[in-house]
């Protein structure tokens, strides 16, 4: 009961360190998937345009917005240190194979798209420069799409149907890494759980520039030249700065804010900062529990000192110096808090496991955390044991011996 505060404090220290460590690991993993050297640009439908399109009768006008090839070229040509630009068009389509269909994002993109985002192919290959030049009808499926369209067969070398055209499946891509995190933060409407990839040129020639979308209010037509562009930077140190320059360029070129810019590295920094904040909060909570625990230790030690006044007198009469008495009671306090600390360590290691098991959160118990927490508990014993120990040592031997 006395050591409960210490137990909770120590357990909290370890558990919270494990959770925040896990969270920051997860965040870093996600951003690493997006690419620390990348800057992502996305087209976003501006709010004003949306309003105006809903007015009036008759067939709706196509809304023109978003990034253009000219934008991307300007960026590539005017900023040094850009190693590659991968522009993509994303069109929502129903894709078919025999009786199976699925509504998914068809991404028309460049050949080095997978490497730029650290995506791996599970099987097959990505399309080639030749297929790009030829506007070839080839497609790379994500895992999820492949599973829906081809529940039994191996999709490689088979074909899927989009609109009235058939596309040969040449590769399957890992779905992992299609995190919605970045997209959500950029406020893009293009967030999709699954995607399929075709050459940029094919997307342009098959689907055209203007796409029709079924919405709650009826048909909606929009013309978007580019939906997404990944700008790769040579040097990680220049990423954040380049992001700012790109922002300026785009601001100059666009009347409306019909684009979003996303710098994973900057987000990573933010995530790290917020992780630090979390740790400070966690630390404060743990600190308070440990303080309460320490006061508990002090209380029990003070009670023990009073209870054992006679013993202190006897020990003093038998030759114990003040520092012998201090040592004795300090050791007792440290043992008390150490036992609490030990229970806390066990609990603190167990809690992250439970959290991982029930909420699927990544938790990481570094070896430093239990060690740190345990030494803190021992230190609490010393700090809060000092006052009772001094009280014990400062007793007058004569008075102490007379104590009943």
């Amino acid at each position: 009961m006395t050591v409960l505060g210490i137990v909770i404090g120590v357990a909290a220290v370890i558990a919270m360190l494990a959770v925040s460590e896990g969270a920051s690991f997860e965040a870093q993993q996600q951003f690493r998937d997006l690419g620390a050297n990348n800057i992502l640009l996305k087209s976003v439908k501006p709010a004003e345009v949306e309003e105006s399109s809903n007015q009036g009768f008759g067939p709706p006008q196509a809304i023109v917005y978003g990034l253009t090839i000219a934008d991307v070229e300007t960026i590539r040509d005017s900023i040094p240190g850009i190693s590659n630009v991968i522009a993509s068009r994303i069109v929502k389509k129903n894709v078919w194979h025999l009786g199976n269909s699925m509504n998914t994002d068809v991404v028309g993109t460049a050949v080095d798209y997978p490497t730029s985002r650290n995506y791996n192919l599970r099987s097959g290959r990505f399309f080639s420069e030749t297929e790009m030049r030829d506007h070839a009808n080839v497609v790379v499926l994500s895992d999820e799409v492949a599973n829906v369209l081809f529940p039994i067969d191996n999709p490689l070398r088979l074909s899927i149907k989009i609109d009235s055209d058939y596309y040969n499946v040449i590769g399957i891509m890992e779905s992992e890494g299609f995190s919605n995190l970045g997209q959500n933060q950029a406020g893009s409407s293009n967030a999709a759980p699954s995607r399929i990839f075709i050459p940029f040129t094919s997307s342009k020639s098959r689907f055209g520039e203007t796409t029709t979308r079924q919405t709650a209010g009826g048909m909606e037509r929009e013309t978007v030249e580019l939906h997404e562009a990944i700008i790769q930077i040579d040097n990680q140190e220049g990423v954040i700065e380049t992001g700012e320059i790109i922002e300026q360029i785009l601001a100059r070129r666009h009347k409306d804010v019909d684009y979003a810019i996303e710098v994973p590295l900057a987000l990573l920094r933010q995530a790290e900062e917020s992780a630090l904040r979390d740790q400070i909060v966690a630390g404060a909570i743990a600190g308070i529990s440990l303080l309460v625990g320490g006061i508990g230790i002090m209380n029990i030690m003070l009670a023990s000192v009073t209870e054992r006044t006679r013993e202190i007198g006897i020990r003093r009469a038998l030759g114990a110096k003040k520092r012998d008495i201090i040592t004795q009671f300090l050791i007792e306090a440290v043992i008390l808090s150490g036992v609490g600390g030990l229970i806390g360590v066990v609990l603190g290691i167990a809690i992250p496991f439970i959290i991982s098991a029930f909420w699927g959160m990544t938790t990481i118990v570094t070896p430093v955390a239990p060690l740190l927490a345990f030494s803190i508990s021992a230190m609490i014993g010393v700090v809060f044991g000092i006052y009772p120990s001094m009280r014990a040592a400062d007793m007058d031997p004569v008075e102490a011996l007379r104590h009943e």
Partner: protein, 231 residues
């Protein structure tokens, strides 16, 4: 009687201050104790014999006067030095035994040796020898509450003998014992004295005091008489 003085009190005064009020309990006590002596200090309660005992035991310091113990002036000593001299040169026997309840017989006897920095093996050997000497070698792992009063007091005597002190101070050692156990303790004292130990016993009983070869009678913080049995 030996000629070496082991303890010497010179004009010891002790005043207690209670706010503005001050009470002098000892009004200048001068006494010399010789090696191998067995002395009783007696007097009615309130005569200052307990205060004198505390000063002799280096548990308390006199307000004035000097106290030499084994040739060392204790009046100038600090707390650590007093602790050391208590542990090394004095053995205490109390009316209520004052054993530590959580420790067994052997550990109680070893305690003064622990504070003098004896090795565990040495103090173990000494303690076992002393337990034998007071006839408790079959009880060494008993806790004090498992022993009778007389047995507890014998543990306390063994503990007092552990460091082979200059003086053994006994404060009403038979006060809590029945007649038979008390007599046994007093027999043990006689025996120790015959082996050359210096004993100072505080008592309020004339009968006990007159058993010893020398008795000091106190009254109102002064020495009233200091007699030796001529035998």
């Amino acid at each position: 009687m030996g000629q070496t003085i082991v303890a010497s009190l010179k004009d010891i005064r002790k005043t207690y201050y209670m706010g503005a009020l001050s009470v002098e309990v000892l009004h200048g006590i001068s006494l010399d104790f010789y090696e191998g002596e067995y002395i009783s200090i007696m007097g009615p309660s309130g005569c200052g014999k307990s205060t004198l005992m505390n000063i002799l035991g280096c548990l308390d310091k006199p307000t004035a006067g000097t106290y030499y113990l084994g040739g060392e002036d204790t009046s100038e000593m600090d707390d650590d030095e007093l602790s050391t001299i208590r542990g090394a040169r004095l053995g205490f026997i109390f009316q209520s035994y004052n054993l530590i309840q959580q420790l067994n017989v052997l550990e109680n006897i070893e305690m003064p040796l622990f504070y003098q920095g004896y090795s565990e093996a040495d103090s173990h050997e000494i303690a076992i020898g002393l337990a034998q000497r007071v006839g408790l070698d079959d009880r060494i792992d008993h806790k004090p509450f498992e022993l009778s009063g007389g047995q507890q007091q014998r543990v306390a005597i063994a503990r007092a003998l552990a460091v082979d002190p200059l003086i053994i101070l006994a404060d009403e050692p038979t006060g809590n014992l029945d007649t038979r156990s008390g007599a046994e303790i007093l027999d043990l004292f006689d025996e120790l004295n015959q082996q050359g130990k210096t004993l100072i016993m505080i008592t309020h009983s004339d009968e006990l005091a007159e058993r010893s070869p020398r008795w000091v009678r106190m009254r109102d913080g002064m020495v009233e008489s200091d007699d030796r049995r001529n035998s």
